[in-house]
Symmetry: C2
Subunit: 632 residues, 2 copies
């Protein structure tokens, strides 16, 4: 919903975007966003206008006003619609000879030119009111007008803008930002963050502390951008999160820290990821898992936009094991059912070979998922309607059919998906199919995921360690090595570490992970054991943190919420790029300014680096860099 279609819709006096959720119409944007504060901001302080375009109503009749804005639309050299960040107002172009210069300015300036007008707020003639436009009862009788900046011809027809690719929107981002949707998204984001700050600072005594982004490489920090320093061979690193700093702040007695933290992650090209992103970063001393969860629930409830239904807290909670078994994922979308059911017992005596083989293996299971009305719209597999149509139906015994129908409450028109194999893999597969089916059902008009519903869920009791994919006998942290083990699993650390659960918690919204955190290890000895003995990490890189834990570290824990993703879900935007003012493309490019860009050898000199062009042979690059210099 961008400039073009928005312009055309506005010219009809209406501005209701097409997005999944209904939005307040243009002119009431800032008012609506402002109402959650005790006091409506003064939007015209310190500047040469007296009012914003969007705020004028019948209550302003007779007032002399000065407005500044963009020419949105002009009709028959009689009316002009002026737009500013608060909305639209109709300007009456004077027709009398004495106002020829005003008339010339308003009639000759191209659309999207910037003007200042002064005049009187008057009623529209009876019958000409526009009830769909918040300022539709009034218009401005202009006395003076000034062209502040003429808009030169745009490099494309404005009505084509919406049809063009996102690349064009990003290249001309300053035009895209004028759209209702981008204005709404960025203002809502600002407002939500402000409310979060009020909650944390003013209500709960948190301290907003900035931590460095020029840091050093963290162990395993392969996704960290490097920043060459002026010392040969020495690099800063742009960290993926302020994890170490927030823990050190707790050791430093800061007690309650938060930061709206810029973080960096170099993943190369990834759709819907950004090389720099923002998280609401929180850490507290003397807190347990429940404390952080209650804090975050209060935070989201307090900052939740007024134009949405209020959040109900506390949020439901589910163990990782349950999430996997029931939804086939660690981030279940709990807005709809279609849960996974273990049907192994139904098929203990089955004649179907692939099920029997699967069940014969250790961990072997048969999982099933029932898609309500799936047979109607997705006639592809086990169709309960047509007497169980499926290539496999004939192998299902009547007894099995009855038991399955009972267990899964299968109705006519439903579709059942069956899979056999290892528990985790079978669940994951059905978890993916569950979302695919939901997409397909919704394409066909079945409403499963109401865009007005925000379904939050805590997922807890994750395993602390995972077997490494490439070397399954070695362990790696499921989240990060600073997560504290469950106190009841502590004894397993020394015997069966793979069975230890961590005090980690994820916050999931509508099937998206929007936050994660943990109670941290505050005992240096335990931290050293996990790093050195279990994870085989080089503890030298973390010696400052281990030392800090030994010098009076309080018990502490925290969380980080992904702000871009959260605002994206709240606004219903199709991509996180729509809630970021100047995002990079999925290839990491700024299409407006053309970043990243070439840099001369001269400019690289102070940093003691040079470019290894891909045409250079591997040998050359290796021989040119003696290994003795490069050991870290």
């Amino acid at each position: 919903m961008y400039l073009g279609s928005w312009l055309s819709r506005l010219s009809r006096g209406l501005s209701r975007p097409i997005g999944k959720t209904m939005r307040p119409i243009w002119a009431s944007l800032s008012r609506n966003l402002a109402l959650s504060s005790q006091r409506i901001p003064e939007f015209s302080s310190f500047v040469s206008r007296t009012n914003t375009c969007g705020e004028l109503r019948s209550s302003h009749l007779g007032q002399e006003v000065t407005l500044c804005g963009w020419i949105q639309y002009r009709r028959q050299n009689t009316f002009l619609v002026l737009r500013d960040c608060h909305g639209l107002v109709q300007i009456l172009i004077p027709q009398d000879e004495s106002a020829a210069s005003v008339r010339r300015i308003l009639c000759e300036a191209p659309v999207e030119s910037v003007v200042r007008v002064s005049g009187t707020v008057i009623s529209r003639p009876p019958g000409q009111e526009n009830p769909k436009m918040p300022t539709g009862e009034i218009e401005i009788k202009v006395k003076t007008a000034e062209l502040l900046n003429a808009c030169k011809k745009l490099p494309f027809e404005i009505k084509d803008f919406v049809k063009k690719t996102e690349a064009l929107r990003l290249q001309y981002r300053y035009l895209d930002l004028r759209s209702f949707q981008m204005q709404y998204n960025l203002r809502l984001r600002s407002k939500m963050v402000m409310k979060m700050r009020e909650y944390l600072c003013n209500l709960h005594g948190f301290v907003d502390i900035e931590t460095p982004t020029l840091f050093k490489r963290t162990p395993g920090g392969a996704k960290e951008f490097l920043v060459p320093s002026r010392e040969p061979g020495k690099f800063y690193s742009l960290p993926q999160s302020p994890q170490q700093f927030k823990q050190l702040l707790m050791v430093g007695g800061l007690d309650r820290y938060f930061q709206v933290a810029r973080c960096y992650r170099d993943e190369g090209s990834r759709p819907d990821r950004q090389p720099e992103f923002t998280q609401i970063d929180i850490e507290m001393s003397f807190v347990d898992q429940t404390g952080i969860q209650r804090l975050v629930e209060g935070l989201l409830q307090y900052s939740w936009p007024d134009d949405k239904d209020p959040l109900l807290i506390p949020f439901p909670s589910m163990t990782f094991a349950e999430a996997l078994a029931t939804y086939g994922t660690d981030k279940p979308d709990t807005r709809f059912g279609m849960k996974i059911v273990d049907t192994s017992d139904v098929f203990r005596n089955t004649e179907m070979r692939f099920l029997r083989d699967a069940l014969a293996k250790p961990q072997g299971t048969v999982k099933a998922m029932c898609v309500p009305q799936g047979a109607e719209v997705l006639p592809i597999f086990l169709n309960a309607k047509k007497n169980w149509s499926s290539p496999f139906a004939k192998f299902i015994m009547e007894e099995e059919r009855l038991e399955l129908t009972r267990l899964m409450e299968i109705q006519e028109e439903d579709m059942v998906l069956l899979t056999a194999g290892d528990h985790e893999k079978a669940c994951s597969l059905l978890g993916k199919l569950r979302l695919e089916c939901a997409d397909l059902l919704e394409l066909r008009g079945v409403v499963l995921r109401d865009p007005a519903v925000f379904s939050f869920l805590w997922v807890v009791d994750f395993p602390l360690f995972l077997a490494k994919e490439e070397r399954p006998t070695e362990l790696e942290s499921a989240h990060h090595p600073f997560t504290a083990p469950h106190s009841s699993d502590m004894h397993l650390l020394y015997t069966e570490p793979e069975k230890v659960r961590g005090q980690h918690y994820d916050l999931v919204l509508n099937g998206n992970e929007i936050g994660g955190g943990s109670v941290r290890i505050h005992d240096a000895q335990l931290q050293r054991y996990i790093l050195e003995t279990l994870l085989k990490e080089d503890v030298k890189l973390l010696s400052h943190l281990l030392q800090a834990l030994d010098h009076g570290a309080p018990p502490h824990g925290g969380i980080a919420l992904g702000l871009d993703r959260l605002v994206c879900l709240v606004t219903g935007a199709p991509s996180i790029r729509d809630v970021i003012a100047f995002p990079k493309s999925y290839r990491g490019h700024d299409l407006m300014s053309n970043a990243p860009d070439s840099v001369s050898a001269e400019e690289l000199k102070p940093y003691h680096i040079h470019v290894l062009w891909p045409t250079d042979s591997e040998e050359e690059s290796v021989s040119a860099t003696p290994s003795k210099h490069l050991s870290s």
Copy 2:
């Protein structure tokens, strides 16, 4: 005023730091900082304590409390002083046999260990109250105690910590952060920024918008850190300010933008500069210079700490020319006089050769500055007391002496400094001497600069261009190339551009530049003329900005305030490192984690760079990088 001396002072029940300004004592820290909000934050929500140590008073008598904190001090195994982020409280160690385990925990845990205690708030026995300690009327009769984390032996005696270098403080920053002073500085900073946000967002409708830090090299951006991308030869740049983005946001109709923006500047080693720093970044549409000035005055007044005298606004204003002529600098410290006086006319007929020679030249002047009581404490030059003692005194005619005395209101005991030469150089020299004299006078007990006085000053009407030092026939921007010329000087742009004044304004506090801004150029043609014709810049690098100005850019202007410096001056801290949680050393090192650090060749591979070690010959480096690849 750090951990050591603070500990010893606290152990006497008193905590009044030595700094230039008086500080609230420990226990009332958070309360004081909180009072400016309508509501006192809940400092013990979501955690296992019921109260903070510092908040307990007689009004809590009889209450059962649970406290968490650090063991600050223990006396004769009878009393223990517990510290948390809010202050200190005395714990009575139980002496009866039944409480042996509690007694053991509290007596055996080393100082700086972390404990949780539960007990009852009781009155101190008559005569044992400590009126200097905010919690001095009460103590805690402990029932249970738990050792949460034992502090291992610190690598130095705690009392030595304060005597050690700043390097030691930075290496053990997490210990340094526990000091009263660092806690005060960081909490005051957080509170001031929060108030600024309230003023901007809630009172004046600003939108908090995050702009990218992975950007592209700006023209002349020699101080920008580079970030290699995964595309060979392509680099991001960490910008020195969001200048381009804030202007593009105005073109995008965001109207009122602000951001607490992280900025980067690679200046190599510079004392009291940081490679990353923070500015309060502001931009408005439809605003003039006065609008921005009034906004900033309101912003500072609103966010000014409650423990300081309220700010009087508007701030005084002075032209650049006046600042130079009167104070010899563009950032005058207006807390004291000692103004520079032009005494050229006094010496029109002088017999002193060096004055005559100077006056004979074009722009030649004789400048003088009177240092009150200077002769008493700085008997070095023209001493009015001893009948004008100076090697040059005999060359000063009686008539000149009388005129000088009258003009400069010279008293006995005063000292007069004379200098002759070009106006700008003479003023600059006396400007530097003025500050040197102030330092010397204050060392000798003369109070010139009251630390409780905050003297703000706007400096305006700067020249738009300066002659380049190395090539004086060429011009460069005095501030940046986006600054709008004074409307009354516009005609000079095409004839005598060096005479054009810019719509730039600096905000000065006690002789420090703490902010600067300007009304920007919103006309693409004017911007192109200045960039191309006057500054000879490559406009290709800014084509996106020039294009944006052509597509309906509103008139706009803004400012950036240096937050680190501002908070440093407000707290009276000796260095900006004392108002930053984890600063770099003056050489740009993180002494705690050892950043920047070495990185392996393997880790550099994805970025297509390699290190050019200083031992590699220049030739090798040049021949290895074909120039065709490096043109940007």
